[in-house]
């Protein structure tokens, strides 16, 4: 080997190591966003551009070329080096919407990935020298997901052990607080909003803690108990999320809820649940876990909640649009520019409970109704409930309305959307037709299983009926939504298709004027382009 090729080879080794750092970090980021679950990661990988990316293809080719050694090194090495450096630089400077969070777990996986790589590279060095080592490093870049998933599997017993210790600690903390009233909230949609509203209302009368943000998994609840729950707390509100059957039972077995709210059973996460019946069964794991002297508060507006019989505990049913068979109802709902007023009737109420709120949308009336029922049952006085409801601030990204400097009204519904939620958001936009141009920016909805195309098409039709301009982001649902918009008769010059959210913002700045209203419906992280 000549000196030039030797130098090039050494530089390639260094560049490949640097590139590995960025590639592994990028892969780890995607694993993190898929909840460290290998199956979810693989599903994402197969659907994304990753599996057929040019760089990966190049790495595969480069590996074989270098391994076989047929093509002269002086030709291949510079090209390989160029590509490695280019990829490292481009990954290092890319700005991700939801970047990698370097938690202790992430660091553990990274260390194992590095160890696996080091062992493999050393092995090749012994058998095939520097050239073999460089070739295998490039191979590792090609098959980096395998290294990632392999490390994840190897670490499973370690993670299980760590989690077990934390779980037991949380369980013993809860056991030391027998007076604590635990309330579980679950549902296909509305659970986070309902949790916030319930927390604000109960805080008027009790010292209350809730699981924060999106800590709705067992580990999230364990962390909340260990880090946020206070010894003087009287109420603990636990939001319970489910990605597969058994998830909710697992949380309920830890926290032993006394009361529950089921906000909805609908079409979400259908690619893991497969059918709505499975969703129903999973959500009701929470009700099944209640003690005989507890109570369950159920949203009868959803047929899969209304039809589900409950025998183990008292069932208190509420409804806004389908009052038949419900114990509590919301009536005389009026939307104004200052918010919503409505009355709650039924149950033990001697007189209708009048409420005023800054929130908009029928789903929020429904969420408030569920929360108020629990508050009444726990003995919060009516005037405190009224005051608390009037003070509830809109939850960011969940159908919140705000006026920004420049005269635009923003309706922010950026969080995980669903067919009925997005329909309602668009209808709220529709009601504002006298104020200015109504603009929708959306990538459509995800995780709808085999209903994906039809649901997004329907969404397109709703957009056509309620908006003046539509900006559709990304390719995932583009065809379906554009089809629906065309069905609905919106003129094509009012429809703009863009590749990214940043581009959508640019288009918006071109057309927006003071007085216009912009709806951001379902904003997705980088896992989905």
């Amino acid at each position: 080997m000549s000196t030039v090729t030797l130098i090039l080879l050494i530089v390639i080794l260094v560049a490949a190591a640097a590139d590995m750092f960025f590639v592994y970090s990028r892969d780890l980021m995607m694993l993190q966003q898929n909840s460290y679950r290998n199956e979810r990661y693989l599903r994402w990988f197969n659907q994304s551009k990753e599996s057929t990316s040019m760089v990966r293809l190049f790495c595969m080719v480069a590996f074989f070329v270098m391994a076989l050694g047929r093509v002269p090194a002086i030709l291949t090495y510079p090209v390989v080096l160029l590509i490695l450096v280019w990829q490292a630089v481009s990954l290092a400077t890319r700005k991700y919407k939801k970047p990698l969070v370097r938690t202790p777990r992430v660091n553990r996986i990274f260390v194992v990935m590095t160890l696996i790589s080091a062992v493999v590279v050393l092995f090749m060095w012994l058998f095939a020298g520097m050239r073999g080592a460089a070739a295998i490093m490039i191979a590792l870049l090609w098959i980096s997901p395998l290294v990632l998933l392999g490390a994840n599997i190897l670490l499973r017993p370690v993670e299980k052990n760590i989690n077990r210790k934390y779980y037991d600690d949380a369980a013993s903390i809860l056991a030391s607080m027998p007076q604590l009233k635990v309330i579980g909230i679950t549902g296909s949609y509305g659970k986070t909003s309902t949790k916030h509203y319930l927390h604000r209302i109960l805080s008027e009368h009790f010292s209350t803690t809730m699981t924060p943000g999106s800590f709705n998994t067992t580990l999230g609840v364990v962390r909340t108990v260990r880090e946020h729950l206070k010894p003087y707390d009287e109420v603990f509100i636990v939001e319970m999320g489910a990605k597969q059957p058994g998830d909710i039972k697992e949380i309920a077995d830890l926290v032993h809820p006394r009361a529950a709210i089921i906000t909805a059973v609908g079409e979400q996460h259908l690619e893991t649940f497969k059918t709505v019946e499975n969703v129903q069964k999973t959500k009701f794991e929470l009700v099944d876990a209640l003690p005989a002297d507890g109570f369950a508060v159920l949203n009868n507006d959803f047929p899969y909640v209304a039809s589900r019989k409950v025998g183990n505990v008292e069932a208190v049913r509420y409804a806004v649009s389908n009052p038949e068979g419900a114990d509590y109802r919301a009536e005389e709902i009026r939307y104004t520019s200052r918010g919503t007023t409505f009355k709650i009737t039924g149950g033990d109420l001697a007189a209708p409970l009048e409420l005023h709120t800054a929130l908009v949308g029928e789903c929020n009336v429904s969420n408030l109704l569920g929360a108020v029922i629990v508050a009444l049952r726990l003995g919060v006085p009516a005037d405190k409930i009224r005051y608390a409801v009037s003070q509830i601030e809109q939850v960011e990204h969940r159908l919140s309305v705000k006026r920004v400097p420049g005269g635009l009204t923003i309706i922010d519904d950026a969080f995980n959307s669903n067919p009925s939620g997005s329909k309602m958001a668009v209808e709220v936009l529709g009601m504002m037709k006298d104020e200015g141009k109504r603009i929708v920016i959306t990538p459509g909805m995800i995780e709808l299983g085999d209903r994906q195309v039809e649901a997004n098409r329907e969404f397109g039709r709703h957009i056509a009926a309620n908006a003046d301009v539509a900006i559709i982001v990304g390719h995932y649902n583009r065809d379906a939504i554009l089809g629906g918009i065309a069905d609905g008769g919106m003129a094509s010059e009012n429809v703009i298709a863009v590749d990214s959210f940043a581009q959508a913002q640019q288009e918006l700045h071109k057309i927006a004027r003071a007085g216009d209203i912009v709806l951001y419906e379902n904003d997705l992280p980088d896992t989905f382009k």
Binding site: S176, S203, S207
Partner: protein
């Protein structure tokens, strides 16, 4: 998981020893089946200590010795950091840094540096739930001048007064004297504005005495208040428990005095059992007053508490002018001696229940504060607007 109450006492004030007594009484009264207690003693030099030795009153005979029997500790004035740290980490390799994690703090200081808002400021910076007046109400309640200004503004009767600083007196004495003689008239009481327990206080029946007493007061404080002195005086105290939205008044007490006004010796050294302090000075509980006067005093005490935005347990001291029957609010003690437990026992609330209430009030205030929006994410340095070159100043930048 039990709530850990940090009881802080001692401090750099003239009422240091009284505070040690009050705190120990309070600690004994706390229901240990419901709460853990961490005592924190602040020495006269301002160092903080914790340890079981602090709970034995005999150990305080030698202030230096008690510091050796306890561990020095500190808290970081960092938002949300409720840990009490050892000054010298204990254990093998110095791994044990944290002495305790406090959930709620009950300050039991009397006088300067503990009752005037300085300590409360630290607690608010850390944002740990605590019982008792916050910085604002502590400062206003401690300073006799601001207290009277606020009460007067809210139509709560106070005696006429004139206030000034020591340097003002030096520069403008004749004017001030005329104002005092015209507005108030002798006899007057001269007091430093913000010290407790009768230090530097004197009565003046004529100009000579006025000069003398003001000079004396000036040795202890820069702010001085000269008040009309009620000669046929009856002192009545009333404790208030709660917060400014929801409070209740205790039964009234009449402290019995030996001289013209209760002196330091009266208050703290009365009776033969010297170290027992407060309990030895004589009181009449409940005070012997007609029903309507009792109600009026309780009402005025409650109003005082509310208007000053107080919290926890305070004691309002009023004066009845026997000659005219008029009632004046004299002062408020935002951390009263022995936390006025004897008044509350007489009202039907036991000492342990009183401590329970203080903890609940602390938690309630923290919850209420948490409901208000306090963060505004607006980084003016990151805003794009403005003209070429430089930031015009916050008002000039458009969002």
């Amino acid at each position: 998981m039990k709530t850990n109450i940090g009881v802080f006492f001692g401090g750099r004030s003239t009422e240091h020893e009284i505070s040690v007594i009050s705190a120990n009484q309070a600690i004994n009264a706390i229901d240990k089946s419901k709460y853990d207690v961490t005592p924190v003693y602040v020495s006269k030099e301002g160092l903080w200590f914790t340890g079981d030795a602090l709970l034995n009153l005999r150990n305080y005979r030698d202030m230096k010795a008690i510091e050796k029997m306890a561990e020095e500790v500190y808290m970081r004035p960092v938002h949300g950091d409720c840990n009490l740290y050892y000054q010298k980490p204990k254990g093998m390799f110095g791994k044990k840094e944290i002495a305790a994690k406090l959930d709620v703090v009950i300050p039991v200081f009397h006088g300067a540096n503990g009752e005037d808002g300085t300590f409360q400021g630290i607690l608010q910076a850390i944002d740990i739930p605590f019982a008792g007046c916050d910085t604002l109400s502590s400062a206003n309640g401690m300073d006799k001048i601001t207290m009277k200004m606020i009460l007067r503004e809210n139509d709560i009767p106070v005696v006429d007064y004139v206030w000034f600083t020591d340097r003002q007196w030096f520069a403008d004495r004749d004017n001030l004297v005329s104002r005092i003689e015209e507005k108030i008239g002798y006899p007057v009481i001269v007091k430093p504005a913000n010290l407790g327990s009768s230090i530097g206080i004197g009565c003046a029946h004529n100009r000579e005495e006025l000069f003398e007493k003001v000079d004396d007061a000036g040795r202890y404080a820069s702010r001085i208040i000269v008040e009309h002195m009620v000669e046929q005086l009856q002192e009545i105290n009333c404790s208030i428990l709660g917060d400014c939205d929801d409070y209740q008044a205790s039964v009234l007490e009449e402290p019995i005095k030996t001289k013209e006004i209760l002196s330091y010796t009266d208050k703290y050294m009365g009776g033969s059992k010297g170290t027992e302090g407060m309990q030895a000075s004589q009181k009449k509980i409940p005070a012997d007053l007609p029903e309507d006067m009792t109600k009026e005093i309780q009402r005025l005490a409650g109003e005082t508490f509310r208007v000053l935005s107080c919290h926890g347990v305070s004691r309002v001291d009023v004066i009845i002018d026997r000659a005219t029957g008029k009632i004046y609010v004299n002062e408020i003690n935002t951390i009263p001696g022995s936390l006025s437990f004897y008044l509350w026992e007489a009202t039907g609330i036991s000492f342990p229940a009183l401590m329970d209430r203080l903890v609940a009030l602390a938690v309630k205030r923290k919850t209420r504060e948490g409901q208000k929006t306090t963060s505004f994410s607006q980084n003016i340095f990151a805003l794009g607007g403005g003209t070429k070159g430089g930031v015009k100043g916050a008002k000039g930048v458009k969002a």
